[in-house]
């Protein structure tokens, strides 16, 4: 065990903190638009693209790997949309199919890479559960930069995102390009997921998207507060999770991040005022108040 952080470790922590914040914030919109499972499918579907990028380039360049990951992730949600539109398969079944097929293909490709000369040293299997140890500076800068950009766009377009997430039909009547705005939200989700893959892994990434928003919902019913709280929860999960793997070297980063986020979720579920389980149980034991006379 070691507690002191060298420069590289500090940089990694800064990267995952912003990554967690970006995932938590854009994850709120994903949850509100009921795209939590789509996000999960996207993260899983990223694996084959990531592997293919390596097989083609034969080098572990993070921008290329993440580019491949994004493409196959988007292909995955495209397949889900296509199955829904042109067959009688319902969305949950389509997501189940895509999620497992793409992960299966990705796993096969991983073993193909293992057999390639130099492939076993590529360490691509770290993308399954995530790993922050050994990240190089440029990679961390890339992740940090994209996470920051995601946050900036959400802050700028908060009003537009809120409107389209709540009532896209009304937005269109007002003349907003609701499809484009919705697509932008989707694209930011893709970015957040893809930059999270190195640290959190394809299996865990969707949880980092969903759990902060779900936990934050216990604390507030205002959207801007929700985004801020979810951002902080994601940030804490990222930093604590990554720090745990620095201290306990054997633990993969993804599970450490997700366990931290889950702990915050359980705490919120139990102890949040008004919406938490304990507060609600407490309210139920209070004597009934007589209803007001004026009833609209």
């Amino acid at each position: 065990m070691r507690f002191g952080l060298d420069y590289n470790a500090a940089l990694v922590l800064q990267g995952v903190s912003l990554l967690g914040a970006a995932a938590g914030v854009i994850g709120c919109f994903a949850v509100l638009r009921r795209r939590a499972l789509t996000g999960d499918a996207l993260a899983h579907a990223a694996l084959p693209g990531l592997c293919l990028a390596f097989i083609i380039l034969r080098e572990k360049s993070l921008p290329a790997l993440l580019g491949g990951a994004a493409l196959s992730g988007i292909l995955g949600i495209g397949v889900i949309a296509g199955l829904r539109r042109w067959t009688r398969i319902k969305e949950d079944a389509a997501i189940g199919i895509v999620l497992s097929v793409f992960t299966g293909v990705g796993t096969v490709l991983l073993s193909v890479i293992q057999s390639l000369p130099g492939g076993s040293r590529a360490g691509l299997d770290s993308f399954i559960f995530g790993k922050t140890a050994g990240m190089i500076q440029e990679d961390v800068h890339l992740i940090t930069g994209l996470a920051l950009a995601t946050l900036v766009v959400v802050v700028l377009a908060f009003k537009e995102f809120k409107l389209v997430a709540f009532d896209p039909g009304f937005a269109r009547v007002q003349g907003w390009p609701a499809f484009a705005i919705d697509f932008a939200m989707m694209l930011l989700m893709v970015v957040a997921i893809v930059i999270g893959l190195p640290a959190a892994g394809v299996l865990m990434m969707a949880a980092l998207l969903v759990i902060p928003g779900a936990a934050a919902r216990f604390w507030t019913d205002r959207l801007h507060v929700l985004l801020i709280v979810a951002g902080f929860i994601g940030m804490i999960a990222g930093v604590v999770g990554a720090w745990l793997t620095i201290v306990f070297v054997k633990v993969p980063t993804g599970p450490a991040i997700i366990l931290t986020a889950s702990a915050i979720f359980v705490f919120s579920l139990l102890f949040a005022p008004r919406r938490g389980l304990i507060a609600r149980r407490w309210q139920q034991r209070q004597p009934l108040q007589p209803p007001p006379f004026e009833n609209l």
């Binding site: 537009e160 009304f170 937005a171 019913d221 959207l223 609209l296």
Partner: protein, 255 residues
């Protein structure tokens, strides 16, 4: 001469090759409170959505104040069906009403004190100003409908489209909405209302559009809302119609 308020020309709409609206021609020249009636599947909501550009036209054209709808967005207010949104969404009643001001705010500008003042006024107009800070999930059905109406008022439009604003609301809310619609009409606005309760049509509306995929009739309620047109709109369901006719007459006597 001023262009008509609404001019629908030869409009056909289809879902998956099945026509939902067939060759609709409809013109409204004067500010009116218009009820749109017809059986389930007659295309009432689709007519509103077609006018608003929410569903594609197979053929035909629609103009509002002489211009295509997409050039008249600021003039249009919209009250969608209440079930069309998630009422668990984390926003307050005031937030929802403020969305009515987003159209004139434009990209990236946030509502300020002026917009908030306007939103509070709109809430007062529908009688739920005291609920401004509540989360929308805590509202009753009638209050939700009032919140949607307040949001449409915040659009400061000249022509309003409302999809079943009277559906599933309590009597007090129904009266409040009816009074508000009349107020809007008296202020020179035109309001289109998809409506289900035939008994109240002659009381609420001065113009009626009777629809069953085709346009059956459109005109002043007094002369248009006739047994003959009702029969042609609702088909052979005469037994229902007799009772409705009786109910309408009862309601007219008591009103």
């Amino acid at each position: 001469m001023n262009p008509p308020i609404l001019d629908i020309h030869d409009v056909t709409v289809a879902y998956q090759r099945k026509p939902v609206l067939w060759d609709i021609d409809l013109t409204i020249d004067e500010p009116r409170l218009v009820g749109i009636v017809g059986p389930n599947g007659a295309g009432k909501s689709t007519l509103i959505k077609a006018i608003l550009g929410l569903v594609p036209l197979v053929s035909g054209s629609i103009e509002i104040f002489g211009k295509p709808v997409h050039q008249q967005r600021r003039q249009i207010g919209y009250v969608p069906q209440r079930e069309s949104v998630d009422w668990d969404f984390p926003v307050s009643v005031l937030d929802v009403v403020l969305m009515g001001t987003y159209g004139r705010l434009g990209w990236f500008r946030r509502p300020g004190a002026k917009e908030k003042g306007e939103a509070h006024e709109c809430l007062a107009q529908v009688g739920i100003e005291d609920l401004a800070r509540q989360q929308i999930g805590q509202l009753s059905g009638g209050q939700q409908q009032r919140a949607f109406l307040a949001r449409a008022l915040a659009q400061q439009a000249d022509i309003y489209f409302m999809d079943e604003p009277f559906a599933g609301v309590d009597a007090a809310t129904e009266r409040a909405i009816a009074a508000l619609l009349r107020q809007l009409r008296d202020d020179g606005k035109t309001i289109f209302v998809v409506h289900h309760d035939l008994r109240t049509v002659p009381i609420y509306f001065d113009h009626v559009v009777m629809l069953n995929v085709r346009l059956i009739a459109s005109g002043p309620t007094d002369t248009t809302f006739t047994d003959d047109h009702l029969r042609r709109t609702y088909g052979g369901r005469l037994a229902i119609l007799e009772t409705i006719g009786q109910a309408v007459r009862d309601q007219e006597r008591t009103a």
